[in-house]
Amino acid sequence: MSMFDIFKVSSSALNAQSQRLNTVASNLANADSATSATGEPYRAKQVVFSATPVDESGATGVQVAGVIDDPSPMKTVYDPRHPLADENGNVTMPNVNVVEEMVNMISASRSYQSNVEVMNTAKTLLLKTLTLGQ
């Protein structure tokens, strides 16, 4: 039944988008974390989406192919009173771009909403099909 595959497709998208929202939350929370368990400043994380068949029916869902460290350069802030400042008074801060993260957040939440709507429509159609002939 191909209509049931819509739930698989959309829920894979919901999973992927919520994971994206999670990384946004973690990036924003750590936008000023100058150090971490490894002693290095926090590096922004980005999710990589990839299209994947959910089963043999040809329906294409989304999966998170991986979470990568953002390769953009770290920020350097001049703050000689900071405990982690080097001999020149510079502190290396996380490479989190707050504007980019906010845009990512809005995009993720809109996509999430769209997929919830898709699921709702599929549910309505299936329920209507069940009343056929009554």
Partner: protein, 137 residues
């Protein structure tokens, strides 16, 4: 008699199964709206229905394979479960990540398809009621 009942219901039955298949293809497009290099897919509903109701072989029977390396013609990202050939949607506004999903088009098509599905369902329901009335008098 059973045969003519089948004939009566066949058109909308075919239409419904094609509509539900198309709904799934459009759901895949919406799900992959943020996937880099994903290309929006769709199939020609009118042509598919014409083929299916003309009694033509719209359904692809699986090819016989005698070696592991043979392609079996099973549903893949190129074809739907019943063998409809998936085409690429022409790009309205390209994006840098190679994704060709236009959310407006997809959602419009999705809603359009859902309404048509419900229409077919309603008409089929009325046909069933009509036949029941004929049987029960």
């Amino acid at each position: 008699m059973a045969n003519s009942l089948d004939d009566l219901f066949r058109f909308h039955q075919q239409a419904l199964s094609l509509r539900s298949e198309r709904q799934q293809v459009l759901a895949s497009n919406i799900a992959n709206a943020d996937t880099p290099n994903y290309k929006a897919r769709d199939f020609d509903f009118a042509a598919a229905l014409r083929e299916a109701t003309a009694g033509g072989a719209a359904t692809a029977s699986p090819l016989k394979t005698t070696s592991a390396g043979h392609m079996n013609g099973a549903p893949s990202m190129e074809r739907t479960a019943s063998g409809q050939e998936l085409k690429y949607r022409s790009v309205q506004q390209g994006s840098v990540d190679g994704n060709s999903v236009d959310m407006d088009t997809e959602r419009a098509q999705f809603t359009d398809n859902a309404v048509h599905y419900q229409t077919s369902l309603t008409v089929l329901s009325h046909e069933i009621k009509m036949m029941l009335a004929a049987i029960q008098g």
